[in-house]
Amino acid sequence: MTSLSTNVELQGLAEEKSLKSKLRRSQRKQKFKAICLVAPLFLFVLGVFVTPICIMLFKSVDNPEVHKNWPETTAILSDWQGTELPPASFYLALSRDLRNSSENKTLSAAAKRINFERSGMRSVITRTARNLNKTPLESAEKEADKLLESHKRWGELATWQAIKRSSSPYTSLYLLNAIDLTLDNDGSIAKVSEDQAIYLNIFGRTLWISLVVTLSCLVIGYPLAYLLATAKASLANMLMIGVLLPFWTSLLVRTSAWVVLLQKNGLINDMLISMKLIDEPLVLLFNRPGVYLALIHLLLPFMILSLYSVMKSISPAYMRAAISLGARPSLAFVKVYMPQTLPGVAAGGLLCFILSIGYYITPALIGSPQDQMISYFIAYYTNQVINWGMAAALGVVLLVCCALLFAIYNRLANKHDLKMG
């Protein structure tokens, strides 16, 4: 009897096991399918989004120019305290590195890097290398003499400190510069001089412009979105086309159209003059109001569409209920309707704000130099002066700004139970 029951139990257990393994197998299959479905997107995001961002983060601290191109000097300087002038052997190492790197065409990269630490070093280094190349390599003392003869700066402690600072494989220089700080000769953090400190100001300007644009979009977009969500289908369709048409037009076309409209002899000025409202053409282009105008126009659809999607889903019954319970329509709107649109406001606001802090083309075409936002300087460092470390560092600060903003939004969203869209 017992043996029979054990038998049955065992059998049951075996069945359960095979059932479980079958289940697991089928689950595994499902999981595999799911991974396969997600894989293209995952790889895409990894390839074109995550990797470049990581590379950018790395570039902002990467410091290869001197480290890689002047190996002997770098090695010898790593033990040097930096309190007194180095011995002749250092000059020999430097002289060898100078010769080699001018041969390999890497001299200008190293010279440019050291120039960031001490201005004027670029020409000192290239001229010295030109002089050195005329003579063969000799003893340490002779090489030291040659260097000192080429430029008196080689006999200055600050020069060697600058080389030492720029020869480490990683640097905080770019990140510090991006927030108007720098490293002193003794390695402590200090503010940069008055005539170079611009980035904090520009970050502030970027955030301010974005804030003004976002709030304006909200003020203009809210009533329109409300109308879109509540109007009759035929009118709503027409309005929707009005919102979407500019949305589908290329950003560059819309920006250039603003240039045509706003310029001194442009449509707006001509019209105002012909209507005898003004005598002299107004200055509408290359100033802040022009930038605001064009940015608001560009970003308005994002706000309207976010608001619309939320407003469309709010049942008109709530408003009617509130009014039937005795609330005035205006009070009902503020107390009942508006709180329900908050997720749309938050989503639209975040979208507009984050899009506008990264804007580049519109301020570049319509603004004066005093209206340029931070992306202009990122583009400047990438495209014109080839200082990718600085471009990456500014990018990092911008990224941190975005992340902070998103964190704040998340906080608020959790508190008020808001959801995106």
């Binding site: 065409k105 200008s108 670029r122 290239t126 611009i198 001194k264 004066s368 990438t382 495209n383």
Partner: protein, 346 residues
């Protein structure tokens, strides 16, 4: 399934092959766009395509080496021949971004102006940065840089090229510095401070341009009352019916060169093109299309007087002129641009 795979494979390889064939036959030449590139198209690109059978693909840029560096560093060189400004040529050559000039193809160095010959470049044009104004709106125009700075006598906006190069020289000239003292003064901190202080005076009236096509547009639309401009763009706008005036006093002239980008897949053809464009017969036709000086001595002599008087190199136009100091700008470009950017953004 297999059929699909084969079809896909052959489509991809076919596409790649076609792309490779296309790149092997065509030469990509990059210049500064606008009127000057139109002239290049007529005089160099189209005739070269017909005579050599190598199709020329054009691109344009606003100067600077970033894109070239990105191409060379990432080993994906898609440009072949590049028109470069003097300081960029020197820096690019120092950092190994350009091929060394192939003198076997270009022939005897003696037939070219000395200032046009360098390790990595062959002089293409001699161009100038000048003051220009619209005679339709300004009956008596500025005569020199002092007038350019005089906002009481000539109220209105002024166009200047965005960047330190040029503007610091002009500011010193406006401040009464003689042309031959400008660069020695700029090498000192006081000189630079003096230039920026002079620029401060004009700052509220400046509208910055970045592309060479902007100044003539702004003069025509009345956005600016006077502007600096590439001399050729102004003369060419006049050919199209505008009434612009070039002020030669205090002109800043420089050489642009052809350079071949390091690692170009069409290196030989690139030098063939440069040799073709630099030859006396071809180069001499260029000033008729846009008034820039050319590097070939024989070609320079062959230019008719009517055209020559609009060139930066015409003796009358060289009075008070300033030759851009390439070595100075190679050495100080980074610092001065940094300071300029901080100044302009404030």
């Amino acid at each position: 399934m297999k059929a699909i795979r084969t079809a896909l494979f052959s489509a991809i390889t076919g596409g790649l092959l076609a792309a490779q064939v296309a790149s092997a036959q065509s030469l990509t030449v990059v210049a500064f766009g606008g009127a000057s590139q139109e002239a290049q198209r007529t005089v160099f690109f189209k005739p070269f395509s017909t005579t050599s059978g190598n199709q020329i693909v054009e691109d344009s840029y606003n100067g600077g080496l970033a894109k070239v560096k990105a191409m060379v560093d990432s080993n994906s060189v898609t440009w072949d021949v590049l028109q470069v400004e003097d300081p960029d040529l020197l820096r690019g050559c120092e950092s190994g971004l350009f091929e060394k000039m192939d003198w076997d193809k270009l022939g005897d160095k003696g037939q070219y102006l000395e200032s046009a010959i360098s390790e990595c470049g062959m002089g293409h044009i001699i161009w100038s940065n000048v003051i220009a104004y619209n005679r339709d709106t300004l009956k008596t125009g500025p005569k020199n840089w002092q007038d350019f700075w005089d906002v009481n006598k000539y109220p209105g906006k002024r166009g200047l090229r965005k960047g330190a190069k040029g503007n610091l020289e002009f500011a010193l000239l406006a401040d009464g510095v003689k042309p031959d003292e400008v660069y020695s003064l700029l090498e000192t901190e006081e000189g630079v401070n003096r230039a920026f202080a002079k620029l401060d005076e004009l700052k509220p009236y400046i509208q910055w341009w970045e592309a060479g096509a902007q100044p003539p547009e702004w003069l025509a639309s009345g956005d600016v009352v006077m502007t600096t401009a590439y001399n050729g763009r102004i003369t060419n706008a006049n050919k199209e019916g505008k009434n612009f005036q070039v002020v030669w006093d205090g002109q800043l002239y420089s050489v642009d060169s052809w350079a071949v980008i390091k690692g170009s897949k069409n290196k030989d053809k690139a030098f063939d093109f440069i040799a073709y464009a630099s030859s006396a017969k071809v180069a001499s036709q260029y000033p008729a299309h846009i008034p820039y000086g050319v590097a070939h001595k024989e070609a320079t002599q062959a230019i008719p007087e009517k055209i020559a008087k609009d060139l930066p190199t015409y003796p009358d136009n060289l009075k008070n002129a300033l030759r851009e100091d390439t070595a100075f700008w190679v050495d100080y470009q980074d610092e001065l641009n940094e300071r300029f950017n901080a100044w302009v953004a404030r």
